[in-house]
């Protein structure tokens, strides 16, 4: 008994470390909270997320229970992939038992790696950007710390079964926990499976196949020491959905038209299949030094394997069914933006009829690709088409140790270190030769600029003209090494009506590239190690909350942070100029600076709760990086932007009216802006030649994309006799699509005649998506079956089936003309208008999830 008490004291001691600067009120029913979390983790991640650089989406898990706005937005607006304050995900920090787990390489955490283990990931300590906490300095976009200690989970068994029509159609999970035994042991485990096949998936041509497991074992040795080991992973295989143009959606008569799949031998096959498995291990030592002081130390390791296939063509025609040349509007200028001299109405009609005649016509024609390859076999030629896999594997190690001190009254102090190391292994392999017998590891894009016999067309001079087959590495192969060390501290003090905190950190980052191929265009600086770049970053944050009495609380916060550049992200972002080709760092690479401030007002009355927050952030010396085909130079380009400046600001409002004890009304909304405040220096490297061009990018005024900058919601919540209902009407607007830099280069603007009479450049407006209204609702109840609780909930999203809402997308970077390479002037005008045809993702129509869970 004594031992049990000691254990309880120990655990309470840990719990007491968690603190919030504002009082928490009105907790949700457990069923409701569970339902929200289930739903949120569904809508996040998966096929539309983590797409290519242009379509990249982010998930922000901001949820500070103290604030009505922040605790609701992540879940509420997730169908539109709302980004909190329009911040990139690299500005949100994720911790597990106190160790930071954002990738040291790209500063992001991938939430899909903990998908399917919802019961394990439910216990989270959130900190909004100006909220003190026990695990780290709150990040610009918020931080959260998962508690994976086995004793933290409830004892018992739980089975969850779900049916839905989203990225997957069925899910089953089994969870069990022992709670803490008298001898100090605790064990928790969960396994889950998520599934959809091509016939049941909501998006045509996709499937989903994912197993998840999470196991945690804890031993509490005495009232001072405890050790925990946790391991998890979710080996997954899933097929993706691609963005397309409105013309394609119209021709297919389907807002969920997916260009990534097609028929092979009469069977549906998707060209973009993701295979991911990131087995992770977390060791935690909790040490209660004395009643006032605790030391929490966690070591984290993971080996991540991630590959994504895509169809590649080799000197042949692009096999994308929605390739621009395949559209009716390739033949006829439906926009009236050209002189119409190339209009061919018959060809428009022929193409239209072809698209409409048969679904197979508007999808990938795999059989034809096999045919083409077999033909090439006959002449001993290289594969015309093949399926490649881009691999981003990682070995990540981290160590976080935090010393927490608190006196029993008014002061708390934490100091901690975070160490991280990441070895990113980035390479490309052949996934399927599609019936071809031969393929050489040569850079066909450079052939033409150089003769085929020129060594500069070799991808790997160490193995010139090497042939490659399934599983072989080709094209590029490099490692990126990053090591980080951060020291941070935080002090909080309550004094009178004020609650104050100050925190600061300082860190060092070093990174280098290790090339595994000797690229023909960069024979001297692509193979082996690059130089090492080192960055010093850090900053401070401070804030105060004033309790003015009668439920009024006023808060202020200000911070200044610097960030080392992202070493490399396969979704865009790099400290290297063209990591697939050489060892060079970007010229003018700097540590990013970010000033941020917030003013918040909260009102707590018996019948009403309100949070009103205004925030501002200004970033300077920021770096961005992308790659794409740039028409005007006839080449794929690696594009780095330095000296980027951005403003983020807005107001956020959350109000809850408690009409009766059972009925409440929520009003949630924000008006935000997030935009470039000055034009940027851009330099791009041509993959066909290896040359770099530097010029000005006119991106001032461009906005953060693929998130609604205006959101508003009215929600009705009703709880009665164990039933709860809610209905939410959500409005979204100001949804921008990712701007295409190449359309706004100075040279492009001049070439395309975007100059007014005064000689000023005319900058194209950024493409936007359609906003609108969406109605969501849910209903739930907890029954008792066999003496145990059975929760049933049904969540319906987009009940009115509004299909016209755009959740994101990007402008096409190609030009409406061809360029004479010798003069640099426009050679011919194209009939097809790329700028009138941005790539878009539309929201899902009516969709639902039925969730049953049973505890025993």
């Amino acid at each position: 008994m004594k031992q049990k008490l000691l254990l309880a004291a120990f655990l309470m001691g840990l719990a007491d470390v968690a603190m919030a600067q504002q009082p928490q009120t009105q907790t949700m029913s457990e069923t409701e909270r569970a339902a929200r979390e289930e739903s949120a983790s569904f809508i996040f991640t998966e096929s539309q997320l983590e797409e290519d650089a242009d379509a990249g989406q982010e998930v922000i898990q901001i949820n500070s229970s103290a604030n009505l706005y922040t605790s609701n937005v992540g879940y509420l607006f997730s169908p539109m992939r709302f980004k909190y304050r329009a911040f990139d995900q690299k500005y949100s920090d994720v911790y597990m038992n106190g160790v930071m787990v954002n990738s040291a390489e790209n500063n992001r955490f991938s939430f899909s790696t903990i998908g399917g283990m919802n019961d394990a990931t439910r216990s989270i300590d959130y900190a909004s950007p100006f909220e003190s906490n026990t695990f780290g300095m709150a990040a610009l976009g918020g931080s959260n710390n998962y508690n994976f200690r086995a004793s933290n989970y409830a004892a018992g068994h739980k089975v969850t079964l779900s049916a839905l029509n989203r990225n997957y159609t069925a899910r089953a999970m089994y969870t069990f926990g022992t709670g803490l035994s008298q001898k100090g042991w605790a064990f928790f485990g969960t396994v889950g499976y998520r599934w959809a096949n091509m016939e049941t998936a909501n998006v045509q041509g996709t499937f989903y196949n994912s197993v998840a497991y999470f196991l945690s074992l804890q031993k509490v040795f005495n009232d001072k020491h405890s050790l925990n080991i946790a391991t998890w992973g979710n080996p997954s295989e899933r097929a993706q959905q691609g963005a397309s143009t409105d013309e394609a959606y119209w021709l297919a008569n389907n807002y969920f038209y997916n260009p990534y799949w097609g028929y092979q031998n009469g069977k549906k096959r998707n060209s973009r299949v993701v295979h991911a498995f990131e087995p992770s291990l977390l060791l935690t030592w909790d040490y209660k030094i004395n009643d006032n002081t605790k030391l929490i130390t966690s070591a984290y390791g993971k080996y991540a394997m991630d590959s994504r296939t895509r169809l590649q063509y080799n000197n042949s025609e692009n096999p994308k069914p929605d390739y621009w040349k395949n559209f009716p509007s390739y033949n006829y200028d439906v926009w009236g933006t050209t002189d119409g001299s190339n209009n061919d109405l018959n060809a428009w009609q022929e193409s239209y009829d072809y698209w409409r005649a048969d679904m197979a016509n508007r999808q990938i024609q795999w059989d034809k690709l096999y045919y083409a390859n077999q033909q090439m076999n006959k002449v001993g030629g290289d594969a015309a088409y093949y399926l490649l896999a881009r691999h981003n594997d990682h070995l990540a190690l981290g160590l976080g140790s935090t010393l927490c001190w608190a006196n029993k009254r008014d002061r708390k102090f934490q100091i901690g270190i975070q160490l991280a190391s990441n070895k990113g292994m980035h390479y490309q392999t052949i996934s399927d030769m599609l019936g071809a017998e031969y393929l050489h590891n040569t850079n066909n894009y450079a052939v033409g600029t150089y003769a085929g016999s020129d060594p500069r067309v070799q991808y790997d001079l160490n193995r010139p003209n090497g042939t490659v087959g399934v599983g072989d590495r080709f094209g590029y192969d490099f490692n990126i090494m990053v090591q980080k060390a951060t020291l941070w501290a935080q002090y909080t003090r309550e004094k009178g009506i004020s609650y104050n905190f100050i925190s600061a950190k300082i860190g060092g980052t070093q990174m280098w590239r290790d090339g595994k191929m000797k690229h023909g265009l960069f024979a001297d600086n692509s193979y082996g190690k690059s130089g090492t770049a080192r960055f010093l970053d850090g900053g401070f944050k401070m804030g105060t909350n004033l309790n003015l009495g009668k439920g009024h609380v006023l808060g202020f916060g200000v911070g200044y942070m610097t960030y080392a550049p992202q070493a490399f992200s396969s979704y865009g972002g790099s400290a290297f100029q063209a990591p697939e080709m050489n060892n060079n760092f970007i010229d003018g690479l700097k540590v990013e600076h970010m000033l941020s401030a917030e003013i918040a007002y909260a009102l707590n009355l018996s019948w009403m709760r309100m949070n009103l927050t205004g925030y501002f952030a200004h970033g300077t010396r920021m770096n961005e990086w992308q790659n794409y085909y740039y028409d005007d130079v006839n080449s794929f380009t690696y594009v780095s932007m330095t000296g980027v400046e951005k403003d983020y600001y807005g107001v956020e409002l959350g109000i809850r009216f408690k009409v009766t004890s059972a009925f409440s009304i929520d009003l949630i909304g924000s008006m935000a802006d997030a935009k470039y405040t000055k034009n940027t220096d851009v330099s791009y490297l041509l993959s066909t030649q290896g040359t770099v061009t530097t010029e000005t990018l006119y991106n001032k005024g461009m906005r953060e994309a693929s998130t609604p900058l205006t959101v508003g919601s009215i929600g009705l919540n009703y709880n009665v006799r164990g039933w709860w209902f809610n209905l939410k009407g959500n409005y979204y607007d100001r949804i921008y699509l990712s701007y295409s830099p190449s359309l706004r280069y100075e040279s492009t603007l001049i070439r395309s005649g975007k100059v007014d009479n005064d000689g000023s450049l005319i900058i194209p407006e950024q493409a936007k998506g359609h906003g609108g209204f969406m109605l969501d609702g849910s209903i739930g109840h907890q029954f008792r079956v066999g003496g145990h609780p059975l929760s049933v909930n049904l969540m319906a999203t987009n009940i009115l089936n509004n299909r016209k809402l755009v959740s994101g997308g990007f402008e096409q970077s190609r030009s409406n003309y061809t360029t004479d390479q010798s003069t640099g002037e426009v050679a011919t005008t194209r009939t097809y208008n790329f700028q009138k045809n941005p790539m878009k993702f539309y929201v899902q129509g009516f969709n639902f999830m039925l969730n049953l869970n049973y505890r025993f």
């Binding site: 022992t178 042949s316 692009n318 003769a451």
Partner: protein, 286 residues
């Protein structure tokens, strides 16, 4: 209690392993059956009464070809030929070249990346009805009407009019030894060989088709428009040129300073022979 925990751990590992054994969904994909090629129109049935040779077709439309005009083919005619040139090397663009035992001609198709569909050596059957025939600079060509003269047909139309036959034989292509005196009406469009011939402008640096630069002494077709002409042997450029696109894959190959053997398609532009090298492989050291 300890035993229970151990049992849980054991069970969970077994369960996790079992679930991980769930089969891959995107499994092995078999090569599709190619008995009926998935490219072209397999409904075109070879009919002896409709078959014509290239030479007889050219004879039939002699006036439109030599008059560089065009005409729609309205009769049920079929042509059986072998592909002798395509866009593999980037020098032939939106065209394929075909040949049979009697003659050769060009087919204009408004598409790129034709080479894997129609590789050199592939035997094809063309349903000529509703296609256009004409002369471009008197070079015989099949295609579609474009602004009153012979142009390219859409890829969709071409696919409706061509059938891929089982025959495939590169060796069966008759390569003609080029002679300046060859009859253009008969032989234009043939695959030819020029043995021991010196390409002009060979200074050890100049490439076959460098991008245009102001002040160049090279002969560009037009001013800056994409094609470079070189002499072959001592024959004047109004009679014979080596014509190479700046978009050709071998455009940046340095012209050998010694005589070489060249294979290529001998097209005509009115009274000038224009030799089109297909790929770098067509350039052989003697």
């Amino acid at each position: 209690m300890k035993r229970r925990v151990t049992t849980y751990i054991l069970h969970s590992f077994i369960l996790a392993t079992a679930m991980m054994a769930v089969a891959c969904m995107d499994g092995k994909w078999e090569t599709p059956d190619m008995t009926n090629p998935p490219y072209g129109n397999n409904n075109i049935i070879e009919t002896d009464t409709q078959l014509v040779t290239i030479d007889s077709l050219k004879q039939r439309y002699k006036t439109v070809i030599s008059g560089s005009s065009m005409e729609k083919i309205t009769d049920d005619l079929q042509l059986k030929a072998i592909v002798i040139g395509n866009d593999l090397g980037g020098n032939i663009y939106k065209q394929i070249c075909i040949q049979d035992s009697t003659g050769a001609m060009i087919v204009g198709i408004n598409g790129t990346g034709l080479f894997p569909l129609l590789p050199v050596g592939q035997e094809i059957l063309i349903n000529l009805k509703d296609l256009y025939i004409g002369g471009y600079g008197q070079q015989a060509q099949l295609g579609d009407e474009y602004n009153g003269s012979i142009g390219r047909m859409s890829t969709d139309k071409w696919e409706q009019h061509v059938r891929i036959l089982p025959g495939f034989d590169v060796a069966a292509i008759d390569t003609l030894d080029f002679d300046i005196s060859l009859d253009k009406d008969r032989y234009a469009g043939y695959l030819v060989r020029l043995t021991n011939v010196q390409v002009g402008d060979a200074d050890g640096k100049t490439t076959f088709a460098p991008e245009y630069k102001a002040g160049t002494t090279l002969t560009y077709n037009g001013s800056t428009n994409g094609y470079v002409h070189h002499t072959l042997g001592n024959i004047s450029m109004d009679k014979l040129v080596l014509r190479t696109s700046t978009y050709a894959k071998f455009a940046e190959l340095v012209i050998p300073t010694h005589p070489i053997t060249i294979y290529g398609i001998a097209t005509r532009y009115r009274d000038t022979w224009q030799i089109l090298i297909r790929t770098e492989e067509d350039i052989k050291d003697n």
